[in-house]
């Protein structure tokens, strides 16, 4: 298992962002669904070793991110696309991707070819020498994805990766996700149910900091059958049904 999370919580002051989440996943594409504020981004940030859990235990790529040496090793083999990725406007696409390849401590001799491969995989070859300030939002997002995959990561964490992509690019990106999921563990946080249906082999639904569903997209679809839940597609109806059940359970408890 590349990700083993046991009863993990995270508090920010009085706010409980993640409340006792347990997950395990190996190679494949794992979708994290949930409404805004459900705790998806915080969970992803903990997996990216940017913030530690308040309690509970995590093992990433078979290592404990709590120790410095293990955290460094995890980070070398990690790809991360934050929800709000900042850009250096004076960098070109290739320079931006190269910068993070170097910060990931890739061997310097391998960096140019890895940068070229990552830039081509996100279809930005024609813009490789363009300054980031000249790119559209969707292109910037793709540059962000390129830096995440430049080190051929074993664990790839993507927070809203398709935000800003046009429909054609989203389809291409789903193909890329499926390809990456053949060898790596890819965790994708999104609020777009169709992305999960098209690319993920497993899915978890989060609400109020907790995982309220964990299974395959087919299992999620089945949860919506015959419930009259809102949604245009079967998977959306399953998602709505799971969320509605979680909310009514929370209301009954409180």
């Amino acid at each position: 298992m590349n990700v083993q999370i046991t009863e993990v919580t995270r508090r920010f002051g009085r706010t409980q962002a993640v409340a006792g989440v347990s997950l395990e996943t190996g190679p494949g594409v794992f979708g994290l669904l949930g409404p805004n504020g459900a705790g998806k981004t915080t969970l992803l940030r903990m997996m990216a070793t940017v913030v530690p859990p308040s309690s509970g235990s995590m093992r990433l790529l078979g290592r404990d991110p709590g120790s410095y040496a293990s955290r460094k090793e995890i980070r070398r083999r990690l790809g991360y696309l934050p929800q709000n990725l900042g850009y250096y406007p004076g960098f070109t696409v290739a320079e931006f991707v190269e910068y993070f390849a170097l910060l990931k401590e890739m061997p310097a001799g391998q960096v140019p070819r890895a940068v070229a491969a990552a830039v081509e995989r996100v279809d930005l070859g024609g813009k490789a020498r363009a300054k980031l300030r000249t790119l559209s939002g969707g292109m910037l997002r793709r540059a962000g994805i390129a830096q995440a995959i430049v080190n051929d990561p074993e664990l790839l964490l993507l927070d809203e990766p398709t935000a800003g992509l046009d429909p054609e690019q989203r389809m291409v990106f789903r193909g890329l996700l499926r390809d990456l999921g053949q060898r790596s563990t890819v965790v994708v946080s999104t609020h777009l149910v169709e992305d999960v249906g098209a690319a993920c082999s497993q899915v978890a639904v989060m609400n109020e900091g907790q995982v309220v569903f964990h299974g395959t997209p087919a299992d999620l679809t089945a949860r919506g059958e015959g419930t009259g839940a809102a949604g245009d597609a079967p998977l959306e109806r399953g998602y709505s049904s799971v969320l509605a059940a979680a909310r009514s359970s929370l209301a009954a408890r409180s």
Partner: protein, 247 residues
């Protein structure tokens, strides 16, 4: 894709048409090799030297993109100190000694932090830790400003006590600016704290002794400066640790 269309027939016919690739050549890989060379960035001399010194190309790259080490910033700092030198020579008041800590503090505040690094969140997930980047950048900015200040101070013909006296206060002002910038997550706030602290110190020294240079020549202030520098360094160190949760 800007690379070759891999659906092209690259097998080469039995007639051996010139220009066609042999069947065992992966044109996609060939293109990646070409693109890697074309897009490759050639590090400049300072980056190559830093890479050798630090034994880390990544750390060297993080160092040379420091805002307060960019050429425009260095020129601006040199111009300010040159103006201080001219004023010192013209008036006899050692303005260089008073300016140098302020210039260094400003540079240090703009060396590192979420307000400076647009991809701050991403940088914090990298194998080269942000603490190491902070340390290397702060030392480099400090060393550069110390060098500029010494040249300006020597050029202005200041007495030895003044020429070297400002190095200790410069350390304290730089540490204060860095600590505040790190805690407040704002370079501007760090600059205000550094300049404000230094201005108060200089004016207090003048009020107490009647001399503008008291803040850099008084030996009684060396220990307080060092204490402030150590405390602020510790604050910056703590502020850059990975935050603990609050169970």
């Amino acid at each position: 894709m800007t690379g070759p269309d891999t659906s092209w027939d690259v097998t080469g016919g039995p007639d051996g048409v010139p220009g066609r690739a042999p069947s065992d050549v992966d044109m996609n890989q060939v293109w990646l090799g070409v693109a890697a060379q074309v897009w490759r960035r050639r590090p400049d001399l300072p980056e190559r030297l830093a890479g050798r010194l630090l034994r880390s190309p990544g750390l060297a790259r993080a160092l040379v993109v420091t805002p307060s080490l960019l050429l425009a910033w260095v020129i601006a700092s040199a111009v300010v100190l040159a103006a201080g030198t001219a004023a010192t020579l013209g008036t006899g008041t050692p303005y260089v000694a008073l300016l140098a800590p302020a210039v260094a503090g400003t540079g240090i505040a703009y060396a590192y932090g979420p307000g400076i690094d647009p991809a701050w969140e991403l940088s914090r997930s990298m194998a080269i830790s942000d603490r190491m980047v902070l340390l290397v950048r702060a030392l480099a900015v400090f060393a550069l400003n110390a060098g500029l200040g010494l040249v300006a101070s020597l050029a202005s013909g200041a007495a030895a006590a003044v020429t070297f006296g400002w190095l200790v206060p410069m350390t304290a002002v730089s540490a204060l600016a860095l600590a505040v910038a790190t805690v407040a997550r704002s370079a501007n706030v760090g600059v205000v704290a550094g300049l404000g602290g230094w201005t108060i110190t200089v004016l207090s020294g003048r009020a107490a002794s009647g001399q503008f240079t008291a803040a850099v020549t008084s030996s009684a202030l060396v220990l307080p400066y060092l204490v402030v520098a150590a405390a602020c360094g510790a604050i910056a160190w703590c502020a850059t640790r990975i935050p603990r949760g609050t169970p």
